[in-house]
C-alpha cells in the first residue's frame, strides 16, 4: 500500500496534513484529514477569574478573535447575571460585522481566490495572493482595502485590529464617537460595491464550472446556524437551528441548552474533535456549519441586497439545502454582503451613539454559555465558576470543529474522484486541499503537493513495514 502525504495544507489557518492511502492498483482507498494542533485552553483557563476570558480566548484565533471575544463576553454576561443595554449589543454586533467583512473577504480574495481566479492547476509558485496582485492589480488592491475596512471597524471600537479590547461582562467599555461613526459610514457604500464585485466573480466562476461543482464533494448532511424568531439569518445572537438534509427543522434551541443537542466524538488520528447531533448519534448526526450551513438553515435574510442573492441561493437545489462543497464560496460572499448591509443599519440606528453601554447590576449565576456565529460557524463558550468567580470548568466547541466530519468526507471524496496514484499531478493534490479550503477552516481555533511542493510517498509492505520512502522538497 502506498501513502501520499500532503503537509502542511496551505492557504488555510492552522496546522493540518492529509494522508491518502492507495491500493496496489494506485486507486485511492482511504484519505484522512489530520489536524495536528492542540493547545489546551480548556484546562489552562481553570483557576482564573471568569472575566479574564474575554482577553484569553481571542488568543485562540487571530483571524476571528472578535468571535471569541464576543462569545466569551456573552458567556460572562450569563455568569455575572447581567444583560447588556441595547446600544452595547448593537456595538458588539457592529464589531462582529467588521470581522465578518475582513474574514470572508480575505478568504475569497486571498486564500481560496487563487484557485478560482488562477486555476487549480496553476503554477504553485504563483497560485497565491501575490499571483493575484500580478494578474489583476486593480482587483487585488480593492480586496486589500476591503479587508482593511473590516479591520478598521474593529480597531475603531476596540483599539486594535487583532485581539481588540472592547466587550466586558454586561456591555462594552466605550461608546461610539460621532467621528468614528461618520468615518465608517463614509466608506461603506464604496466597500459594498467591492463585495458586489467579488460576488459577481464568484457567480461567474460557479456558472462556468458547474460540471466541477457537481462532482466536487457533493453529499447530504444536516445544517446548523443561528436564526431569529422568523428564521432569518443571524450572526451575533439568536436561536440555534438544526435542519436535516431535506431542510426540515430538526431542532431550534437556546444556546444555553447546547449540551442537550451537541455531542463530540474523538478519533485517534486528529486533535480536532467531531461534533454531532446527539439524538441521531455518531456518525449519523453529523452536520455542516459556516456559510453553507447557515444559508441552508435560514429561511430568509433581513437586508435587501443579500435577500435578493438568497433567493438565487434557494433556487440552486429547488429550495432544498445546497450540498456541493464549492458552493461555500458563493454563500460566503452572500454573507459578506449581509454583514456590510447590517453594519450600515446599525450605524444609522438612532441609539448607536448612546452612552448607556454597560449594565451595572446583576445576580451572579456562576455558570453560562455564550454563542455567536463565527465566520466559520457556530461557536460555543461554556464557563462554570466557584462562588468567587474563579473558573472551575471551561468547555469550548469551536466553529471549525462542527465541520470536521464534512472536511474529512470532502477530502476522501475529492481524493477518490481526482487523485490517480499512477499519474500523480500537483493539481490533483491541490484539489484535495481546495476541498478543505472551501470550508475556510481555522485550525488554531480547533486545536502542507508535488512539483515544486514537497510531498512524501511511503510504500508499506503487507506487514505494515516501511519498504520505500520518496520525498520531494
Amino acid at each position: 500500500m502506498q501513502k501520499i502525504t500532503i503537509e502542511p495544507v496551505t492557504r488555510i489557518e492552522g496546522h493540518a496534513k492529509v494522508t491518502i492511502h492507495l491500493d496496489d492498483a494506485g486507486k485511492v482507498e482511504r484519505a484522512f484529514f489530520h489536524v495536528n494542533e492542540w493547545r489546551g485552553f480548556e484546562k489552562f483557563s481553570e483557576g482564573r477569574p471568569f472575566f479574564e476570558m474575554t482577553q484569553i480566548t481571542p488568543r485562540i484565533c487571530g483571524i476571528c478573535p472578535v468571535s471569541h471575544h464576543l462569545a466569551s463576553a456573552k458567556a460572562c454576561d450569563v455568569v455575572a447575571g447581567v444583560k447588556p443595554p441595547r446600544t452595547a449589543s448593537l456595538l458588539r454586533e457592529l464589531m462582529h460585522m467588521g470581522q465578518m467583512i475582513q474574514s470572508h473577504s480575505m478568504h475569497f480574495f486571498e486564500l481560496a481566490g487563487p484557485d478560482l481566479l488562477l486555476g487549480f492547476d496553476a503554477d504553485p509558485a504563483i497560485r497565491n495572493v501575490v499571483g493575484i496582485v500580478q494578474a489583476n492589480p486593480e482587483l487585488a488592491l480593492k480586496a486589500v482595502r476591503l479587508r482593511g475596512f473590516g479591520q478598521d471597524i474593529i480597531k475603531r471600537l476596540g483599539g486594535k485590529r487583532v485581539h481588540p479590547v472592547f466587550a466586558v461582562p454586561g456591555g462594552v467599555n466605550a461608546p461610539l464617537s460621532v467621528q468614528d461613526r461618520d468615518a465608517i459610514l463614509a466608506q461603506i457604500d464604496e466597500m459594498t460595491e467591492v463585495i458586489k464585485t467579488g460576488l459577481a466573480i464568484a457567480k461567474q466562476w460557479c456558472e462556468a464550472n458547474m460540471d466541477l461543482i457537481n462532482q466536487f464533494a457533493v453529499f447530504p448532511s444536516s445544517y446548523m446556524g443561528l436564526v431569529d424568531e422568523e428564521g432569518g439569518l443571524q450572526l451575533y445572537d439568536g436561536k440555534v437551528r438544526l435542519v436535516d438534509k431535506d431542510g426540515r427543522k430538526l431542532e431550534e434551541f437556546d444556546p444555553q441548552d447546547y449540551l442537550t443537542y451537541v455531542g463530540e466524538h474523538v478519533e485517534d488520528w486528529s486533535y480536532l474533535k467531531f461534533p454531532f447531533y446527539r439524538k441521531m448519534g455518531w456518525p449519523n448526526g453529523t452536520y455542516r456549519v459556516g456559510p453553507l450551513g447557515r444559508l441552508n438553515a435560514a429561511t430568509k435574510i433581513n437586508t435587501p441586497m443579500a435577500a435578493e442573492e438568497f433567493k438565487v441561493w434557494k433556487s440552486i437545489n429547488g429550495g432544498k439545502p445546497v450540498e456541493g462543497t464549492l458552493w461555500f464560496h458563493y454563500a460566503r460572499l452572500i454573507e459578506d454582503l449581509y454583514a456590510i448591509e447590517r453594519a450600515k443599519e446599525i450605524l444609522l440606528d438612532p441609539d448607536i451613539l448612546s452612552t448607556d453601554i454597560v449594565a451595572d447590576t446583576g445576580t451572579f449565576a456562576g455558570e453560562g454559555v455564550g454563542c455567536v456565529e463565527a465566520p466559520r460557524g457556530t461557536l460555543f463558550h461554556h464557563y462554570k465558576t466557584d462562588a468567587n468567580g474563579m473558573l472551575t470548568k471551561v468547555n469550548l466547541i469551536v466553529a471549525t470543529g462542527h465541520n470536521n466530519w464534512a472536511m474529512s468526507k470532502s477530502v476522501e471524496m475529492v481524493a477518490k474522484a481526482f487523485v490517480d496514484g499512477k499519474k500523480l499531478t500537483e493539481g490533483m493534490l491541490n484539489r484535495v486541499e481546495a476541498a478543505i479550503r472551501a470550508h475556510d477552516p481555522c485550525l488554531s481555533c480547533s486545536t502542507h503537493a508535488i512539483g515544486a511542493m514537497p510531498i512524501v510517498i511511503e510504500l508499506f509492505g503487507p506487514d505494515g513495514s516501511l519498504l520505500q520512502r520518496l520525498t520531494r522538497d
Binding site: L111, R127, N128
Partner: protein, 179 residues
C-alpha cells in the same frame, strides 16, 4: 536587484501575527516589489527553499514535536531568523499550559469535557507529540525579536524596511509593545 527571499511559518500560534503582516495593507503590496515571498502559510510553497532564504519569520510558540522540526528547518535554511510576536518571543499565552500536568490537560480536552462522548486522547503516529511550551530561542538561535500580541503592522513594516536597508532593526517607542 534580485528580490530578497522571505519565508514565514507558524508554530503554536493563533495566526494573529500573520494577520498583522497582512494588516500592512497597501504597504505589503509595495514591499512585494522588493521581497519575494517563498514558503508561507498563504502561498503553496510548503518549506523554505533548500538553496536558502535571506529572512525567515516564525510566529507562535514551541508546543509539540512538529513545531521543533519546523523551527529547526527554518533556522537551517534562513540567514536571519525573526521571532515575531509574544508567543515566539516568550512562549506567550500557551505557556499557561505548563502550570498543569500534560496528561491532565489532554484528558480534560478529549475525555472529560462535558460535550465529549466516549472520548480518548488522540495518539496516532501522524500527529506531533505535545511538549512543554517554550519560546523559539529555547530551541534554535533567533537573530531578531519582535514582541507584541500581535506586533503592530507598523512595527513589522519598520523591521522589514530596516532589513531591506541592510540594518538590524531596533524597536523603540510605539513599535515596541507587549500587548
Amino acid at each position: 536587484m534580485a528580490k530578497v527571499k522571505v519565508a514565514t511559518d507558524w508554530l503554536a500560534a493563533c495566526a494573529g501575527c500573520h494577520m498583522s503582516v497582512l494588516d500592512m495593507d497597501e504597504r505589503l503590496v509595495q514591499l512585494l516589489d522588493k521581497i519575494e515571498l517563498t514558503s508561507t502559510p498563504i502561498t503553496d510553497l510548503k518549506h523554505p527553499p533548500k538553496e536558502g532564504a535571506t529572512v525567515g519569520i516564525l510566529t507562535g510558540a514551541i508546543s509539540n514535536t512538529t513545531n521543533i522540526e519546523v523551527a529547526k528547518q527554518m533556522r537551517e535554511r534562513c540567514q536571519i531568523l525573526i521571532a515575531l510576536g509574544d508567543c515566539a518571543v516568550f512562549g506567550g499565552i500557551v505557556t499557561m499550559r505548563n502550570f498543569f500536568d500534560m496528561n491532565e490537560a489532554l484528558k480534560r480536552a478529549y475525555v472529560e469535557t462535558e460535550s465529549t462522548v466516549d472520548g480518548k486522547v488522540p495518539c496516532s503516529e501522524e500527529l506531533g507529540t505535545p511538549v512543554r511550551v517554550c519560546a523559539v530561542n529555547q530551541v534554535v538561535k533567533v537573530d531578531i525579536h519582535i514582541p507584541g500580541c500581535p506586533p503592530s503592522p507598523d512595527a513589522i513594516y519598520y523591521a522589514l524596511s530596516e532589513l531591506l536597508e541592510g540594518r538590524i532593526p531596533v524597536l523603540t517607542g510605539d513599535n515596541l509593545k507587549y500587548d
